[in-house]
């Protein structure tokens, strides 16, 4: 551990959790990812796209790269198709570069939880379960459909089965579909952290705990904004305890930043809460959360070889695809440039 701490740069040691050590089995994969990282769109490109005069001009800025839309593409559906295709390619590349299969399964489980959420919502509200699920998970959509049709959850992996059972019990407490999501979110966060610890990955542990913290911060502000009576929805497993956020519910927007003064999140909470109070919007909060997470992912630059840069590449690439979708959607619908810039900050 002391060695790991020495690897943290002076500026970041109190901002981001440690990223762990080198793993020389990943020398080739890391080198490949480093080469691919140079092809990623720089921040300036997104700003230029946001400032473009029209949707077509914004689209033209992507025409020279991998996000070029084929000629004759008519609507936004074609662009969405290209983005989904690129996302699938990135995920395939990630799976091919990652030597530890458990890490691939861990990231694929994100789609399993998303599919489970949809399937359970349908099943518990007596709607057809269907088979229109994401095929990128560990569980094939047909298997999921069959499991729900026959009510035979034994065919599902343990974490999906446990989440399904817990979410069902939680739902029947007061037949509120939101409880399905709350329970699955909670179990997904715990599953991620448990797996990271089982794999012995300091980086994944820090990453998932940071994600939990950022989710809890967004949840805190959303609960305050919607004046929701639900307060037991904060996720466990982050660097900060759920009780910490519950305390924040009693504070005003101007005071909420000070609550986080001893954490690396003070700036993002202050900026997000201020923007929320003045603009009634979460754009800045979400932009700042993304920025914090990207900062953590970029701190893997200090790793010469290891799974960390590959994981970081996957997540940064997914973020890039989401940002492209966001900017293009906003330009297509002639939204204010300021809003786009606030979001991609």
């Amino acid at each position: 551990m002391p060695q790991v701490k020495l690897r943290q740069s002076i500026l970041e040691f109190s901002t981001y959790p440690p990223v762990g050590d080198d793993d020389w089995r990943y020398a080739f994969a890391t080198a490949r990812v480093r080469a691919l990282e140079t092809q990623m769109l720089p921040r300036a490109t997104f700003q230029d796209m946001a400032n473009a005069q029209s949707f077509e001009n914004a689209l033209d800025m992507l025409s020279a790269g991998q996000y070029a839309v084929p000629k004759g593409a008519a609507g936004f559906a074609d662009i969405e198709e290209v983005l989904l295709q690129r996302r699938a390619e990135v995920r395939e590349l990630f799976a091919s570069l990652m030597i530890d299969e458990s890490i691939v399964e861990l990231f694929k489980s994100r789609d399993d939880f998303a599919n489970l959420r949809l399937a359970l919502r349908r099943a518990l509200t007596d709607k057809p379960v269907g088979a229109d699920y994401s095929p990128s998970g560990n569980v094939a959509p047909e298997v999921l459909e069959q499991a729900f049709a026959e009510e035979n959850y034994a065919v599902l992996p343990g974490y999906v089965r446990r989440a399904a059972e817990a979410a069902t019990i939680n739902y029947y407490q007061d037949k509120d579909v939101r409880r399905i999501d709350y329970e699955i979110d909670r179990l997904q966060a715990l599953h991620n952290i448990d797996e990271a610890r089982r794999l012995g990955s300091i980086f994944l542990d820090g990453l998932f705990r940071t994600q939990v913290d950022l989710t809890n911060i967004r949840t805190l502000l959303r609960l305050k904004f919607t004046e929701s009576e639900q307060i037991d929805v904060f996720l466990d497993g982050g660097f900060l305890e759920p009780a910490f956020y519950k305390h924040g519910l009693d504070l005003g927007y101007e005071a909420i930043g000070n609550l986080f003064f001893a954490t690396p999140y003070q700036h993002l909470v202050e900026v997000g809460a201020g923007y929320l109070a003045s603009n009634k919007s979460f754009l800045k909060t979400e932009g700042q959360c993304d920025r914090h997470l990207i900062g953590l992912l970029k701190s893997t630059a200090q790793i010469t070889a290891g799974p960390q840069p590959i994981i970081a590449y996957l997540l940064m690439k997914e973020h890039e695809i989401r940002t492209i979708r966001l900017v293009l959607t906003a330009k297509k619908n002639s939204l204010d440039t300021r809003l786009i810039l606030d979001r991609i900050a």
Binding site: K127, I180, D185, R218, S281, F282, R322, L326, L328
Partner: protein, 205 residues
């Protein structure tokens, strides 16, 4: 009409009654037309402001929703919005404005509009749905007012046509027919008098 008319005193009396009835009907329909116009203007004034407000609210909702949708993964959007929990029931009751049956919409809203968890969804989705929820009241009111205005406008058009027909066609025609019968009867009367005078002259001679 004049060719088919029987120039008799009975017909004259009948037509005079019809003229009186048509004039009364014209007066009543004119009053109805004026009242419907007044009500229509009143509703239209309210609609104009309401429509602007609803359009602004819906525009804001769409803007927020687009930002939320763009910043979320497609599978998360599908999962979040697959099973809505907000239920809106509309009941239609009818009220009468100047004998025009206009709808009055009564809404019953139950459930929460935010029907998803927080971890995989965007805060902008909350803002969009809350804005949509607030727009519901105005949206229903606008629908009610616009339907009322449409029905009143149709009735106004029909009433105006009836008033015009009475004023410019039926009453003048009836007056013309009465004058025609009156002239005919007067002529017949003059014929009769001159015939009687001739007979008197013949008898005296």
């Amino acid at each position: 009409m004049l060719a088919n008319v029987n120039a008799t005193r009975m017909e004259l009396l009948r037509l005079r009654k019809r003229v009186a009835l048509a004039s009364r009907g014209h007066r009543l329909l004119s009053e109805k037309r004026d009242e419907i116009s007044r009500r229509l203007i009143q509703i239209a004034r309210g609609i104009s402001l309401l429509r602007k407000r609803v359009e602004a609210q819906l525009l804001e909702t769409c803007r927020r929703f687009m930002m939320a949708r763009a910043s979320m993964e497609p599978e998360h959007i599908k999962a979040a919005l697959a099973v809505p929990t907000k239920k809106l029931t509309l009941t239609v009751q009818f009220a009468s404005i100047m004998n025009v049956k206009v709808p009055h919409l009564l809404k019953e809203i139950s459930g929460r509009i935010i029907c998803y968890g927080f971890a995989t969804t965007s805060g902008e989705m909350d803002v969009a749905l809350i804005a949509l929820e607030k727009a519901f009241d105005d949206l229903v009111e606008l629908a009610e007012k616009e339907k009322q205005a449409a029905l009143l406008a149709t009735e106004l058009r029909m009433t105006r046509r009836r008033v015009n027909v009475l004023e410019h066609v039926i009453i003048p025609e009836l007056h013309e027919t009465i004058r025609f019968i009156f002239d005919k009867l007067a002529e017949a009367e003059r014929d009769n008098i001159s015939r009687l005078m001739k007979i008197t002259d013949i008898i005296r001679a």
